[in-house]
Amino acid sequence: MRKLRELAGLASAFLGATVTTAQADYGLLNMRVGVTETSKSVYELHMIIFWVCCAIGVVVFGAMIWSMIHHRKSKGAVAAQFHESTTMEILWTVVPIVILVSMAIPATTTLLAMEDTSNADMTIKVTGLQWKWKYDYVDGEAAGVSFVSSLHPKHNEARLLGADVDLSQFGDQYLLDVDNPLVIPTGQKVRFLLTAADVIHAWWVPDLGWKKDAIPGFVNEAWTKVDEPGVYRGQCAELCGKDHGFMPIVVIAKAPEDYAKWVSEQQASIAAANASADREWTMDELMAKGEQVYTTSCAACHQANGQGLPPTFPAIAGSAIATGEPDAHIGLVLNGKAGTAMAAYRDVLNDVDLAAVLTYQRNAFGNSASAIQPAAVKAAR
C-alpha cells in the first residue's frame, strides 16, 4: 500500500514537475564566482579553459560538419585517397602543446597561491564525522571555542523517506542549513586544519573557491580570506556513507566587531557549560537533554526508536551495554569501537551532553538502568 502511494506520488511529481519548479532555476549554468580572491581566480581559469575548449570545438566540429555536408556520396563526392600529411601531423601536435603551456602558466600561479597557508591570522581545526562537522578555534581571540555543526533539525525531518514535507519553505537552503554555523571574521586570513574521525569527508564551500579532503589520521591545510560579510553555504563532497548528502556547511563571515561579539557569547556559554558539569543533574533534566543529543548525534544510525539497523548499526533498545555496567557504556561511547562505524565521542560531546545521552539510552526504548552524572563522565575521560 505504501509502495503504491509512493508510486502515485512519483507519478504526480512527474506531472507536477513544472509547478514545483517555480522557485527552482534553469539559470544555474555556470560556476559561482565566489567571494574570495582565490575563488575569483579559479573562476577566471575556468572561463579561460572553457573558451579555449569552445574555440577548438568550433574548429574541429566545424570542419567535421562542413565535411559531412559537402563530402557525401549522395552529392556525387568522389573519395580522395590521401592518407598522410607530415605537415598537418606536426601542426596539430605543436599547436595544442603551445595552448597547453599557455594554460599551465596561470594555473600554476593560482595553485601556488592556493597552497600557501603561511602568515595566517587565525587557525580553525575542522573535523569531519559521520555525518556532521566539528570546529575548534585553535588560536586567536576565539581560542578554545569548539562546537559540532549538524544538519538543521527541521531539514533533518523533511529529508526522511516519504516525509511529505513542503520543501519550498526552505527556499534554496534546503539541506544547506545547520544548527551551529561556523563564524569567521572578515578581512583575516583564516587557516583551516582539516581532519576526520571516522571516514574520509571533504569540506567544500563553493563561494570560497576550493574543497579539501578531511582524512582520518591526516591533517590537511587550506585557507581563505573573505572580505564581504555574508552567509556562505556548502556541503560534504566526499562520499562518507549513508548520510553523506546531509552534512552541510554554513560559514558566516562577520565584520570584526560583530565577530568579537559572537566570540564573547560563545565564551559565556562555555563557562556556563563548565559550571553545569560540576553539579548534580536530576533524572528529568538528563532525559530531556539526552533526547535532544540523541536526535542529533545517535539517531542517524541507531534510529529514533533505538532499534538500529542491524547488523551495521546495532539496536540500543535491550542492548547489553546500554543496560549494563555504566563504565562499559561510558567507555564505548567515549572511545568508539574499532573496526565498526561507531565513532569516538570523546571530542564531540561535552561531559553534560554525554551524561545526558547515556542516561537517555539507558532509560528510553523500554531500557531501564542507572542514570549517569556528568561527574562520572569527567572521571572516565
Binding site: 601536435t93 594555473a107 574543497k211 590537511n220
Partner: protein, 526 residues
Amino acid sequence: MSTATATHDDHHDHGPAKGLMRWVTTTNHKDIGTLYLLFALVMFFVGGAMAMVIRAELFQPGLQVVDPQFFNSMTTVHALVMIFGAVMPAFTGLANWLIPMMIGAPDMALPRMNNFSFWILPFAFSLLLSTFFMAGGGPAAGWTLYPPLSLQMGDGFPFMIFAIHLAGISSIMGSINIVVTILNMRAPGMTLMKMPLFVWTWLITAYLLIATMPVLAGAVTMLLTDKFAGTSFFSAAGGGDPVMYQHIFWFFGHPEVYILILPAFGIISAIVPTFARKPLFGYSSMVYATASIAFLSFIVWAHHMFTVGMPVVGELFFMYATMMIAVPTGVKVFNWVSTMWKGAMTFETPMLFAVGFIMMFTIGGFSGLMLAIAPADFQYHDTYFVVAHFHYVLVTGAIYSIMAATYYWLPKWTGNMYDEKLGKLHFWISTVSVNVLFFPQHFLGLAGMPRRIPDYSVQFTDWNVVSSIGGFVFGVSQLMFVWIIVKAIRGGEKASDQVWEGADGLEWTLPSPPPYHTFTEAPQVK
C-alpha cells in the same frame, strides 16, 4: 587470399555441439565472443536498471523512492556492473569475434582458457549481486571502494572482494590470450604495422590490463585483510594510510579508464574509413598516439586525488602530465576528421554512431581538459560536472563505439542485415536523450551539486528533472537495440560477404555468416 571455408567432411567433430552444452564447453572464438557480448548486454540492462533508480530518486528533491544507503549501493553497483560487467566484457567479446578474423587466424591461441575466462564472469557477477540479499546490503562506498568507508560494509564485503578478484582473473586471462594470439597467429605477410587499428588498440589494452589488474587485486586484498585479519594497511590508527589506497587504486584506475576507451578508438578507426570510402588518415600516428596514451595513463593517476592534500609539487606534476594527454587524444580526433575530409560519405547506422562518438567523446575530452587544471578541479572535483564528464566519455564514448561495432559487424556475424530504419531511429533517440540526460549535469556540478547524493536543494530541481527525463527515455530506447539484434539474428535481408561497399580487411573476405571454423589455412597478406 586463400579459401576461407574449411568444412572438411572428415572432420565431423569440428561443428558446434548441440544444445546448451555447445555454449558451456565451447572453445570456438565466435561462440565465446557471442557469449561475452550477450553477457555484456544483460549486464548493460542490470546496470541500466540501477541508473533508472538513481534518476527516479533524483527526479525531485526530498526522498521518495529509496533510502540513502540503498541509493549509495545503486551508484556503487551501477558503476561496478557497467565497467566490469558491460563495457569490458563487450570489448573482450568483440576481440574474440574479430581479432582472429582480422589477422587471419583460425581461432584464439588459448581456446580452453578462453572458455574459462568467460565462464568465470557469470559467477563473479552473481557473487557481486548476491550481496544485495545479505545483511548490510550491497556495496555502498562508491566503485572506488575507498577505505575506511568501504570497510563499514556488512556481510557482503568478502563476496564483493571475491567478485572483483574473479572479474580480474577473467580479464587477465582474456588479455593474455589476446596478446598471444596477436603476436603469434597473424597470417603470413601481416606485419605489426599492417594490423587493423582495432587489433593494435586491443594489443595495447591487453598490456594495460595485465599490468594493472593485479594492482587492483592487491589493493582489494589489503582491504580484505584490513577487515578480517587485523592488518592496518589503510588505517592511520594502526600506522597505515587511507590515502595510500587511493594511490594504489588509481594506479590501476587511470589505465582502466583507457582500457575502456582504447578499443573504442580501434572500432571508430575501422568504421570511419569504410563509410568515407577513403583510407584511414595517419595510420602510424594513430598507433603511436595509442601507445603514448597508454604510457601517459600510468603517470597521471593522482589527478583523481587533487583534493587529498598532496604536496604542491605533486599537484603540479600530475596537472602537467594530465594536460599532456590532450595531445595524443587530439591527434586521434584530427585524424578521424581528416579521414572524413574529401571522402564520399554515407551515413548508415554504424557511421552515425561513429560520428556521434567523435563529437560527444570530444565534448567529454574538453571537460577532461578542464578537470586537468588543478585549481579549477578544486571546484569541479566530486560534483556532477565530473559525472557529466565521465558519462560523455563512457556512454557516448565507449558504449557508442560498442553499438557502432555491433551494427557494423552484425551482418557479418549473422549473415543478415539489421533493420536500417530502426537502427537510425535508435541512434537519433539515443543521441537526443543522452544529451538531455548528461549535458545538464555540467550545469548542476558547476552550480554546486556534489555527486553521490540522494537528495539536493530545491534550486537544483529543474536540471535534475530534465536529466531524469533524458535518462528514462535513453533507458527505454535501449530496448530497441535488443529488438534490432534479435530481428537480425532471426532473419532479414541477406548480407553479402563484403557487406559495406567501402569495407577493407580480412574479415570481409569471409562469407556472411562465417563458417564455424575460418582461416584453417592462413591467407596471404600482401
